[in-house]
């Protein structure tokens, strides 16, 4: 049986750990709040651009643009959105497991796909497995602005236009609510999955021409799809970390309760033993 002192030390250190996890939980909760607000303020932009793109792409059937056309797939691009730091429960591992499974099922050689990594955990995961991400960005702030990610987002879209890959899938975690986040796969490029949202499609006058507008609009649309996923992923990350830290705090509390019980038992045993010894000693004198 552990000595009284040993148990006392463990209780103290567990208490300290629980203070830390509690603090991290509260930090994540406030970050989650802001991330949700960011995601919300992005919605009007996304809706608007989607509306216009859809009405142009569907409204004028004769319009052609390389981003709208599926070409034979020789190489697939995977854009993987993870976090920079761990301690977020299953957030990163469930995304990475899903991408990795897909890669192993679909491809036989490394020439058939490329990986673009947003977040350190994702980049390192692929590096360990001998897959070097062709583009990566780490150290994004918790509340990324569009300017922070413009560079990588633009490059991702450009690489498709240049023919580096013929389709692009995006893996990220979709924020459902504070306790549920789902790994989501989205085909970003080519933009073949435009559907009319049912809203009245206005027929526009194009200045100068529909083709030239698509030239500007489609890359911007693809970029905003990716940015939207990134905001979604950030909200999920904070939610996942909050839940993980909540669990850690609860576990620590449970541990402390057990240890305290153990400590009291040990203390009681020591007292009982002392009394028995005294009584035994007194009895021996009589």
């Amino acid at each position: 049986m552990a000595s009284l002192r040993d148990i006392q030390t463990r209780i103290t250190s567990t208490k300290k750990t629980s203070q830390i996890t509690k603090a991290m939980q509260m930090v994540s909760a406030s970050k989650l709040n802001r991330a949700e607000m960011n995601a919300k303020s992005f919605v009007p932009y996304m809706n608007k651009i989607q509306e216009v793109v859809t009405s142009i792409a569907l409204g004028s059937k004769d319009v052609k643009h390389p981003m709208l056309v599926s070409r034979p797939v020789k190489k697939t691009g995977y854009l993987v959105i993870t976090s920079d730091r761990g301690l977020a429960g299953a957030y990163n591992s469930s995304i990475l497991r899903s991408v990795y499974k897909r890669i192993q099922e679909q491809h036989t050689s490394q020439d058939e796909y490329v990986v673009i990594a947003i977040g350190r955990v994702g980049r390192d995961f692929f590096r360990i497995r001998g897959i070097e991400a062709i583009e990566s960005i780490t150290g994004l702030p918790d509340q990324p602005s569009f300017a922070d990610v413009k560079e990588i987002v633009r490059k991702t879209v450009d690489l498709f236009s240049e023919g580096m890959y013929d389709e692009l899938y995006m893996y990220y975690s979709h924020f459902v609510n504070a306790i549920q986040q789902d790994v989501t796969v989205k085909k970003v490029l080519p933009l073949t999955e435009l559907e009319s949202s049912g809203a009245s499609l206005s027929s526009y006058e194009f200045e100068p021409s529909a083709e030239e507008i698509l030239e500007v609009l489609l890359p911007q649309y693809a970029e905003s799809l990716i940015y939207g996923a990134l905001l979604d992923g950030k909200a999920s990350e904070h939610a996942a970390r909050m839940t993980a830290m909540q669990n850690a705090t609860d576990n620590a509390k449970e541990l402390i309760r057990n240890l305290t019980l153990q400590y009291n038992r040990a203390r009681q045993a020591a007292i009982t033993q002392e009394i028995t010894e005294i009584v035994g000693g007194a009895a021996a004198l009589e």
């Binding site: 992005f42 009007p44 526009y204 500007v216």
Partner: protein, 135 residues
Amino acid sequence: MKTFNVNIVTPDGLVLDTNTELVSAKAQSGELGIMAGHVPTVAPLQIGAVRLITGGKQTELIAVSGGFLEVRPDQVTILAQAAEKAESIDLARAEEAQRRAEQRLQDKKDDVDFKRAELALKRAINRVNVSRGNL
């Protein structure tokens, strides 16, 4: 005169939502003036200023970089990657960005992405001009 609603939306949120009589913007095909009842139109924008004019007076001045303008009978929406009202531009920072961009263009190193540097300079000059109000 009849007024209509104008929205300026960026990925970081709504920049402006107001009513006006006239919107003047720089489209890629040239200066564009929109009044109420305009035909539905879509036009890509240049890096430049967007002006709102009501009652013959300029009410708002906004620096817009990239994006496009969508006109509906009762509403105009400008979707830009970045947009700032004249009064919220940090002039000192904008000037600093302009200097940096000019420096980069003059360096003429091989690894400098010329087109990107030029765009950065354009954006910086636009913001400085809008902030000072001289167009």
